[in-house]
């Protein structure tokens, strides 16, 4: 890792005991570590059926054949993998607050979540695909499977940098069109995107993805320490807005922010999207160990 460890050994072990759960996606293509509703090729016995022509003779139960003189095919539990997609918003607004240490910033927090979720999915031999997206360009990782990719994954996450603006809609749409097998898709972002994110999420949903959104905000966005006559400049777009912040306007901002978050939460609930909104002053493990668990995205 380039600078600091994203997380320590204890946390890593804790994470590896977890498993990402997709309740709707059942499209395993490869053997994985999760039981599938389909019969498959694992060692777990499931049932017998009559041999039909063309069946693989290797799966004939020769002991039964010897005893009963009738060919039966042994059906085994199939174990399948899950396609896990992690999408990280790497726009400039994520590298916030600018005057804080890098490990206090949203992007550091988001990367920890990014890597944590990736570690879980690698540990459970899921098919992991990662993408950090900003206008500067998409930085993909994977697909990868198995713990063997942990180091590469951590190196990838550690090397990510935030900058530029993001059109989250466009990025998600592009990903839905291109990204192979649908699966569980985590989107980590502050959702401060000029065009919104709903169209992108819709594209993912329509392709059969199960979507979880983790909104990461910093405390100074929730309760901005601003006052007086100011000219606010958007770090991504460079747009400016003159504003005189006094007590009344602050109240208005706080109300507006709460309404916005509630709006997103309600919309996600309606469409079966997992939604978690966190601020960076809450421990990041809690997001995985508590919030995502509660939502059933992690087991």
């Amino acid at each position: 890792m380039p600078d600091e460890r994203l997380f320590d050994e204890t946390t890593r072990r804790k994470l590896e005991q977890l498993m990402l759960v997709a309740t709707r996606v059942r499209a395993g293509a490869m053997k994985g570590e999760r039981r599938s509703v389909k019969r498959g090729t694992s060692i777990e016995f499931a049932d017998y059926r009559n041999y039909a022509r063309g069946d693989d003779l290797r799966r004939l139960d020769w002991n039964i054949y010897g005893r009963l003189d009738r060919p039966f095919i042994k059906l085994l539990e199939d174990e399948e993998d899950l396609a896990v997609h992690l999408i990280l918003d790497a726009s400039a607004s994520m590298d916030w607050p600018p005057d804080a240490d890098h490990n206090q910033r949203k992007f550091w927090y988001a990367r920890r979540l990014f890597a944590g979720l990736a570690a879980i999915s690698l540990a459970s031999s899921d098919r992991l695909a990662m993408l950090a997206t900003s206008l500067d360009g998409a930085q993909p990782f994977g697909p990868a499977r198995g713990r063997g990719h942990s180091l590469g994954m951590l190196r990838y996450v550690g090397g990510l940098a935030a900058g530029g603006a993001t059109d989250l809609n466009a990025a998600l749409k592009r990903y839905a069109l291109r990204g192979g097998r649908p699966g569980l898709c985590f989107v980590i972002s502050d959702l401060f995107t000029p065009g919104g994110f709903r169209d992108g999420v819709n594209a993912l949903l329509s392709r059969g993805y199960e979507v979880a959104i983790i909104q990461v905000l910093s405390p100074d966005e929730v309760d901005p320490p601003l006052g007086g006559d100011l000219r606010l400049v958007d770090v991504e777009t460079g747009q400016a807005q003159e504003v005189t912040i006094d007590g009344g306007l602050r109240e208005l901002y706080l109300k507006r922010l709460a309404a916005w978050r509630d709006d997103i939460r309600a919309d996600c609930l309606r469409r079966g999207i997992h939604f978690v909104s966190v601020t960076t002053d809450a421990p990041w493990e809690q997001v995985i160990l508590f919030h995502l668990r509660r939502l059933g995205a992690v087991k």
Binding site: P225, L230, A240, Q241, E242, T244, L257, D281, V287
Partner: protein, 638 residues
């Protein structure tokens, strides 16, 4: 409304730099935020909600311009025309006499408080170019503010003025005021008083307009108008006191008497309106030193007593061995006159046709006559002795004294000059070895003095009627010297006490080193002995003063001195509707002159208030940065 300094309006030009500064300042601080999305919505919301938003943004500028406008207004000194008592050059005579202590104003305030208020209101209406001199009229009138138009100085001096306990000297005060106003083109004299100018009413008019602002409402007052103790021949002391009711209703009063601080008697009297009640008591105890009399209103009294200053009086016991002089003569106007005028002497005239009185006298003056029963015991001053006595032998008369010589080094002859004295004839004396011949002429001594047989004796060998000595200026000097020699005056002599404000003369003996005067309030003053007679003038409060004469650390003489108000013109507190001056009555003044009431303090006050509002608004905006900080901690994952 008009302005005294309209040019100050140029200060409004300062608005230009303020606006410029504001425009510079309003290049808003640039702050980068992670996203404008929410802010833009918020701004839209707020502008939709409050149409005043634009105005609010410039609220600070508006407030600052308002502060400037108010300050400039204050500097322009706006004023309104108000009726005033007087204008131009004003000589304000503020009565601070004892009667101004009367607490007959509403709320128990004294007349002096009211007078000060009136004076201050005159200061308030002082116009541009008006000047005022404030004279505090007490026993020693004092200019507390010389002519000035500085209202702050006038206000401070008037507010600090205190009433005295003495009678006012209006003659001096008016003279002072007239002298002060001499150079002014047109001066007006404003008298703030409860009336009664005393001797000043007979003064010729003063140059200028006189205005009178009366204070005081009621005249109910009871006073101890006299208190004295006299030693009766024979030893016992007699008290004489007088309680006067200056009011218009008969009043009940309790008169209490304390002897040396202990309550001696207390009795209730009814004093008829406008009358005095003499109280005489012969039963004072022996050997007392001080008397204190007080008046108390009985609890059920109907008539108030507004002036407290004259409800107490003090007296000192007559000194034992006062100089009682018995003059025995067939008739000598010169002697009688001089004895009446010499201070510190109680002179009695004896009848030479009757035996000598039994009670002893300190000094016997035998003028051309000798008692047939022999010389009395006591000091003797024998003038023109008709016969020989055990003290001397009389010789023949000597005519026309010539070559008169005086012993210049003798204190008994200090300032005595016999050069121009003509003496028709004198008696020659012999056998008076005990005496010094103080004045001699060819033929024998003219004046002998000395001590013999435990007494002092002096002999003048010629008849006063047969010389022109009594017509000379040296005659009272000689008599005073002789009396001083016979019985030196006490260091402190004020047998009748002093009036408030009078000067106490102290003549310490030569051996004294310090004189200490203890005031009624207990504080002590040390007077250095730098001359023969010391003057102590700090007698502004009635009460008992004690004079201690010290030799080193030892008190060699101590004497109490009573200081009393005893001023009928002060105790008669009934306010006068008018005063008389220069033979003309001066009625209470109307506010008919034109004064200016300045309004700048209000403008300045308003500027201060607006400044505070501006500060508050600014702080509110700035606080938005920090005040909500703790809220962050509570925000968690949602």
């Amino acid at each position: 409304m008009a302005f005294l300094t309209p040019l100050a309006a140029l200060g409004l030009a300062l608005a230009v730099p303020i606006v410029l500064l504001y425009m510079l300042r309003l290049r808003r601080r640039e702050v980068t935020v992670s996203s404008l999305t929410l802010w833009q919505q918020v701004v839209q919301d707020s502008e939709a909600n409050t149409p005043w938003q634009r105005l609010r943004r410039n609220l600070l500028l508006l407030l600052q311009l308002l502060v400037l406008a108010l300050l400039v207004l204050a500097l322009m000194r706006p004023f309104v025309i108000v009726p005033a008592v007087s204008a131009g050059r004003i000589e304000l005579l503020l009565d601070a006499s004892a009667s101004m202590n009367a607490a007959d104003m509403p709320g128990g305030e004294t007349r002096f408080d009211e007078a000060k208020r009136q004076a201050l209101s005159m200061v308030d209406t002082l116009g541009q170019g008006d000047a005022m001199t404030v004279i505090l009229v007490t026993d020693v009138p004092e200019v507390i503010v010389p002519a000035t138009s500085d209202r702050a100085a006038l206000r401070a001096a008037i507010a600090a003025a205190q009433p005295s306990a003495a009678a006012a000297d209006w003659v001096a005060a008016l003279t002072l005021a007239a002298a002060d106003a001499q150079n002014a083109a047109q001066a007006s004299f404003v008298i703030v008083s409860d009336g009664g100018l005393g001797a000043a009413e007979g003064l010729p008019g003063i140059p200028g307009e006189v205005r009178y602002l009366p204070v005081g409402r009621a005249g109910d007052n009871l006073a101890i108008s006299a208190l004295a103790a006299r030693a009766l021949p024979g030893g016992n002391s007699q008290l004489f006191a007088q309680v006067t009711n200056y009011g218009t209703r008969a009043a009940e009063v309790i008169f209490d008497l304390r002897v040396d601080g202990r309550l001696f008697s207390a009795q209730r009297y009814t004093v008829p309106a406008g009358e005095s009640l003499p109280l005489v008591s012969a039963a004072l105890p022996d050997g007392f030193e001080t008397l204190q009399a007080g008046l108390t209103r009985p609890a059920d009294a109907q008539v108030p007593d507004y002036l407290a200053l004259d409800d107490a009086a003090w007296a000192v016991a007559p000194r034992a061995g006062a100089r009682r002089v018995l003059l025995l003569t067939a008739g000598n106007r010169f002697l009688e006159q001089i004895l009446r005028t010499l201070p510190g002497i109680q002179a009695f005239r004896g009848d030479i046709n009757r035996p000598l009185p039994a009670e002893p006298y300190d000094l016997y003056i035998l003028d051309g006559w000798l008692p047939p029963t022999g010389l009395p015991a006591g000091d003797l001053f024998i003038i023109n002795p008709p016969a020989s006595t055990p003290l001397f032998t009389l010789g023949p008369d000597s005519a026309a004294a010539a070559n008169i010589l005086t012993r210049r080094d003798d204190p008994r002859l200090a300032f005595v000059d016999f050069a121009d004295v003509n003496i028709l004839k004198f008696k020659t004396l012999t056998g008076a070895d005990w005496a010094d011949a103080l004045i001699t002429a060819d033929g024998g001594p003219l004046l002998l003095a000395g001590e013999t047989g435990g007494r002092q004796a002096a002999v003048l060998t010629f008849a006063l009627q047969e010389s022109d000595l009594p017509l000379q200026i040296t005659w009272p000097v000689l008599m005073a010297n002789l009396m001083e020699w016979f019985a030196p005056a006490a260091s402190v002599s004020a047998p009748d006490g002093l009036r408030v404000g009078e000067t106490l003369a102290i003549r310490p003996p030569p051996s004294a080193t310090t004189v200490r005067v203890t005031l009624p309030d207990g504080t002590a003053r040390s007077l250095p002995i730098d001359r023969e007679t010391l003057a102590f003038a700090e007698t502004g409060a009635p009460g008992l003063y004690r004079v201690d004469i010290l030799e080193g650390e030892t008190v060699i003489e101590t004497a109490p001195v009573a200081v009393n108000l005893f001023a009928p013109e002060e105790s008669a507190i009934a306010p006068r509707p008018a005063v008389t001056l220069g033979g003309q009555a001066v009625a209470p003044a109307e506010r008919d002159a034109v004064g200016q009431r300045e309004l700048w303090p209000w403008a300045a006050l308003a500027a201060l208030v607006v400044l505070l509002i501006e500060w508050y608004v600014y702080q509110r905006r700035m606080q938005a940065r920090t005040v909500f900080r703790p809220a962050l901690r509570r925000q968690g994952a949602r």
